[in-house]
């Protein structure tokens, strides 16, 4: 049976949309937060995902801004930075701290806003190049939990694991810092 030729005007209208959806599903499938979801679950989840496009240098969110959800990088790179608004001394301008992380395709950030009510962003995220992000926001996660608890539970379990891992990493870093601090502290006391 010969395959049908695409319509000269509208032939690729729907196929483009389907391709975009397939691309989104593929990206979601590889994201650590959604790793446990089946293809059907991912299709359901995709209804709640907002795709956002950012230009190079555009701020995704700033420090202290009210955050509502997590962003997954579909294309591009994102710089995560921490700014200290209360800079020491008389200089009232915010001090830019060194980049904390540079994230690429498949990485996600802003996940704390998914669980904390009225969350204030603790870092700044900036697109380093033309970047496409997929956002999942707290009200939508609540709706998923309400309508499809099995899908919501899988996402929340993964989210819990991610947060636990970050907590352990932070704890380890603090311990390392303490180790470095203790001898000098002791020396000062000795003096």
């Amino acid at each position: 049976m010969p395959s049908r030729l695409p319509h000269p005007l509208f032939g690729d209208l729907f196929s483009r949309r389907n391709q975009a959806k397939a691309g989104l599903l593929e990206s979601l499938k590889h994201a650590p937060l959604f790793k446990d979801l089946s293809h059907r679950d991912l299709r359901y989840l995709s209804q709640f995902i907002y795709e956002r496009h950012f230009e190079a240098g555009e701020s995704i969110f700033g420090l202290g801004e009210r955050g509502l959800g997590v962003y997954l990088i579909l294309e591009g790179r994102v710089s995560i930075r921490s700014l200290t608004p209360d800079a020491p001394g008389d200089d009232p301008t915010p001090r830019t701290e060194p980049e904390m992380a540079q994230l690429g395709e498949g990485s996600f950030f802003g996940e704390l806003a998914l669980v904390e009510p009225d969350h204030l962003r603790t870092t700044q995220a900036v697109a380093l190049e033309a970047t496409r992000l997929a956002g999942l926001f707290q009200p939508d996660l609540n709706e998923i939990v309400e309508r499809k608890p099995s899908v919501g539970a899988k996402i929340l379990l993964r989210l819990g694991q991610v947060l636990a891992r970050r907590l352990i990493e932070t704890h380890d870093r603090l311990k390392t810092l303490e180790k470095y601090r203790e001898p000098s502290h002791a020396r000062h006391e000795g003096v």
Partner: protein, 358 residues
């Protein structure tokens, strides 16, 4: 390299895009709510959509798709309406026929009593003008009756249009609402996306929670009045119960609107005069239960506004939009509070609330 400062120049363009997106949203809403023929069915369908969302979520939780859940919901509702219609149709039709027959008598007797009371008061207190209230009631009733007679045919036509349009619109709001909402948010510029999303979600939740709570309250009050009137043997218990439920939706003065017809029925018919006190007790008990148990538990928790603000909102609503204004004043006041809170939170973020992580 951090280049966010360059984007301050985009602020004007982003504000323009935000303005365009909001204008497009308002234009679509106006298309439905601005035209008289579409406004009523759209409004009713929207209220139905809000009310049907929780049972729809329940059906989806059972593993069904959204479309099949909506179809099941419509099927169940149709069946329920059919059963309720078959059960209550006879009673309501009989009560309606009787009230149509007796209404002129009730009205003239009520007017006579009002005129007599007015004359008595006017002779006792000279500063009261004679015949003011009764004349007003008389003229208003005549105008209403004339309006009903002249608009009766178009009212019946509107009812038929609504009966067809409301289910269709409700179906599409339920099935395509989330998709339409998503399309709208895709138009919002990045810089305003999260704040717009947060505010609209909170406003939508505030309005839908309030309307659902009011409907639960109205159903309970209506049922209590209906059962109470039936128990004391008052006539038109079903119709008066339905009326008490509907008028209860209007805050503060609604219960009095509901009580009025019952008082006219038992107050003007000498054969029913012994029911005057029991009827007052039924309405009093129903409203006491509403004010002590139902309202604080079901409604007040959802409306975090000072009572003075509530009264001001209801008064302003009545002033500008009459009964509809009184009904929508509280959810609108809640929405305004949400917006002000969100704007204040973004202008003055909490201090010392640095969470860990990112």
């Amino acid at each position: 390299m951090l280049v966010t400062k360059g984007f301050e120049g985009h602020l004007r363009a982003d504000l323009f895009r935000l303005f365009l997106a909001i204008s497009a949203g308002i234009a679509i809403v106006w298309l439905f709510l601005g035209s008289p023929i579409l406004a009523t069915p759209t409004g009713i369908a929207w209220v139905f959509t809000l009310l049907l969302t929780p049972p729809l979520a329940f059906l989806e939780r059972q593993g069904r798709s959204r479309k099949s859940s909506i179809l099941i919901l419509f099927g169940v509702l149709g069946l329920l309406l059919f059963v309720a219609g078959a059960t209550f149709y006879q009673i309501i039709a009989e009560e309606w026929e009787s009230i149509q027959r007796e209404a002129p008598l009730y009205f003239s007797q009520a007017l006579e009593k009002l005129t007599a009371f007015e004359s008595k008061m006017a002779s006792r207190f000279r500063f009261i003008g004679r015949g003011r209230v009764s004349a007003w009631v008389n003229s208003t009733s005549r105008e209403t009756a004339t309006w009903l007679l002249t608009h009766g045919t178009s009212l019946a036509g509107d009812l038929l249009t609504n009966l067809i349009l409301v289910p269709i619109l409700t179906f599409f709001f339920l099935s395509d609402g989330p998709m339409l909402r998503k399309r709208f948010f895709q138009l919002i510029p990045n810089r305003f996306f999260e704040s717009t999303y947060s505010v609209t979600t909170k406003i939508s939740n505030a309005i839908s929670d309030y309307l659902r709570a009011k409907l639960i309250e109205a159903t309970l009050v209506g049922s209590m009045v209906m059962v109470g009137l039936a128990l004391i043997g008052a006539p038109y218990s079903v119709l008066l119960g339905l009326l008490a439920g509907v008028t209860n939706i209007v805050p503060y003065v609604g219960p009095f609107f509901g009580l009025g017809p019952a008082l006219i029925v038992v107050g003007t018919d000498p054969a029913l005069s012994q029911l005057l006190v029991p009827v007052l007790v039924v309405y009093g008990v129903a409203n006491a239960i509403d004010n002590i148990y139902i309202f604080p538990v079901v409604v007040a928790k959802l409306v975090d506004l000072h009572p003075l603000l509530l009264i001001a909102a209801v008064t302003l609503g009545q002033e500008y939009y009459g009964l509809v204004g009184m009904l929508i004043s509280i959810p609108l006041a809640s929405s305004a509070k949400v917006m002000i809170t969100e704007i204040a939170a973004s202008l003055y973020p909490r201090r010392g609330s640095k969470a860990h992580g990112r």
